[in-house]
Symmetry: C2
Subunit: 247 residues, 2 copies
DNA sequence: CGACTAATTGAGTTGGATCAAAAAGTGTGG
DNA sequence: CCACACTTTTTGATCCAACTCAATTAGTCG
C-alpha cells in the first residue's frame, strides 16, 4: 500500500483523505496492470463497454471521426486519470481511445463500481466528483472551441495542460513535456495542422511560448493565461466542501 | 406518489424500474416546488453551489460569457432534467442558468445526495448514469461545434432536441416547439444570429426543416439526421446493461 | 545515408463574421 | 382595433480568420 506506486490513490487523495480500507479498495481497481504500446488503440467505438481503465503511466487520448475524415480529440488522459468513465451508462464505447506513450493501464469492470458504491460513501462521492470535474473540463473546452480564436485556443490549452500536470506534479516549473504532434494538437483544438504551426510561431514571436520539439516553456504563465482567457477555477475548486458532510 | 406529477420519477424510470421506497426517496428531491419566471436567472457564476435543482416544468439553459461579450450556451434543460449536477464537486457555480419559460424548479441540497448514496444502490447508479449521459451530450456538442458546418450544426441540434423531447414525450410526431430565439440558437451553436437566419432559410429551401415562429416541423427526420451526421446512440443506449448486476 | 514523417512557409480561397438597413412580429395602452 | 415602440428576423455588401493546396525544410530512425 505504498502511495508512491499507486497513482490512482494519489489522484483520489487529491479530493480528500482516505482511510486505509478505502485505499485497499482502490488498490483493487488498479489490479492487473497491463503494458500497452504507444499508438495502440485501447478500444474503438462500438466495442462492448463493461470496464474502466485507470491510467497508471503514460498519456492517452479519446477521439471521434467525422464523415469527411476529420478527427476530433475529446480528452487527453494523464497518469492517474480514469478512462471510459463516460461510458458507465452505456453498453458500447462512444469513442476511440489511443495511447500516446508506452503506458500501463489497469482494467476494472463496471460492476466493481457497485462494490465501491456499497462499501464507501467517500469513494462514491469522489467518483462523482471526478465525473463532475471531467464535465467541467469538457465544458471549458466546448466554450473554447466554440468561441475563441486559434491563438486563444492554443494559449488556453497550454495553460490547462500545465495546470493539470502541476496538480499531480508540483515543481515542474514553467516547463512541460507535450508529447503531441501538431496534427494531434489540431485535432484537439479544431484547427488545421498548418494553422497550429503558424499559431505556435506567432505565440513564440510574442514571447508567450517557446518550444523545442516536445518541450514547451512558458516564460510568463499568467500572461499566457490572460491571452487564453484561462481561469483555473474549474480545475482547482474540487470537492473540498463536501468532505465535512461525510465525516 | 402519482407518477404523473413527478417528472423526475418519470425521468429516472427511464433508466430502470424503481421500488416504491426509491420513488419515495426521489419524491423528497422534488420537494418545495418553486415557480420561477421566464428570463429569470436561477443562479450566476460564482454563487455558492450547495444544491441541485430538478426542472419540473419549463425550459432553461446554462451559459458563460467571454471577454469580448460573446456568450456560449452550454446546455439546454428540459423538464425532468437535473440542473447543476456538474457543480456537485465545486463550491461555486461554474455557469449561469436562466429560465426560458415560466417554470417550476425543486431545490435539493448536495448533502441529500449523500442520503441517496447511502440508501439506494440503484439510485446511486442512476445518478451516475445521468452524469454519464450529460457528458455524452456535451461530448457530442463539442464534436459538432468543433468540426461541422453551420448547416450541419443546425441540423444536428434540431435532431437532438427532437430526440430528447420524444424520449419523455413520444407521439410528438415530426413537430416540436422550440422556444429559442435565433440569437439564443446562435449562442448554442457558436454562430452569429445572422448566419442562423440564413442557415434556417437554406434548410427550408431544401425542404429539410420548416419553421413557423417557434414551431419547427421536420418532414423527414432521417434526412435531417443524415444532413447533421446525427446518430442517437448517445441518447438511447443508457444504463440498461447495469441493471442485471444490481438485482 | 536514404526514406519517412513532421513542421514550416507561401499563395490563393472560403465559410461565416460584421455592419447596416429594411421588414416582419409582438405587445401595450388608448 | 389601431398606433407606437420595441424586439426579432431577414437581406445585402464587405471583410477576415482560418482553410486548402503545394512546395520546402527540418527531424527521426533503421
Amino acid at each position: 500500500m505504498n502511495e508512491e506506486i499507486s497513482c490512482i490513490i494519489r489522484h483520489f487523495s487529491h479530493y480528500c483523505s482516505l482511510s486505509s480500507g478505502e485505499k485497499q479498495l482502490l488498490m483493487t481497481l488498479e489490479d492487473s496492470p497491463t503494458d500497452i504500446k504507444s499508438g495502440t488503440l485501447l478500444w474503438e467505438m462500438g466495442d462492448p463497454a463493461n470496464e474502466f481503465c485507470t491510467l497508471k503511466s503514460g498519456w492517452a487520448y479519446s477521439y471521434r471521426h467525422l464523415e469527411d475524415g476529420d478527427r476530433q480529440i475529446l480528452e487527453v488522459f494523464l497518469p492517474g486519470d480514469i478512462i471510459g468513465l463516460r461510458e458507465f451508462a452505456f453498453s458500447q464505447r462512444l469513442e476511440n481511445v489511443r495511447m500516446i506513450d508506452d503506458s500501463v493501464v489497469c482494467h476494472f469492470p463496471h460492476k466493481s463500481m457497485l462494490d465501491v458504491f456499497r462499501q464507501s460513501l467517500t469513494l462514491t462521492s469522489v467518483m462523482f466528483a471526478i465525473g463532475s470535474r471531467q464535465q467541467a473540463l469538457l465544458t471549458e473546452r466546448l466554450v473554447t472551441l466554440a468561441r475563441l480564436s486559434a491563438r486563444k485556443k492554443m494559449a488556453h490549452f497550454l495553460c490547462e495542460m500545465h495546470m493539470r500536470l502541476r496538480q499531480t506534479n508540483p515543481g515542474i516549473g514553467n516547463q512541460l513535456r507535450l508529447p503531441l504532434s501538431q496534427e494531434q494538437l489540431a485535432d484537439i483544438l479544431g484547427l488545421s495542422p498548418v494553422h497550429v504551426s503558424r499559431t505556435f510561431t506567432a505565440l513564440s514571436e510574442d514571447g508567450l511560448v517557446f518550444r523545442d520539439r516536445h518541450r514547451v516553456t512558458i516564460p510568463d504563465l499568467s500572461a499566457l493565461c490572460a491571452e487564453g482567457e484561462f481561469n483555473d477555477y474549474y480545475l482547482s475548486d474540487n470537492v473540498r466542501p463536501l468532505l465535512g458532510e461525510i465525516a
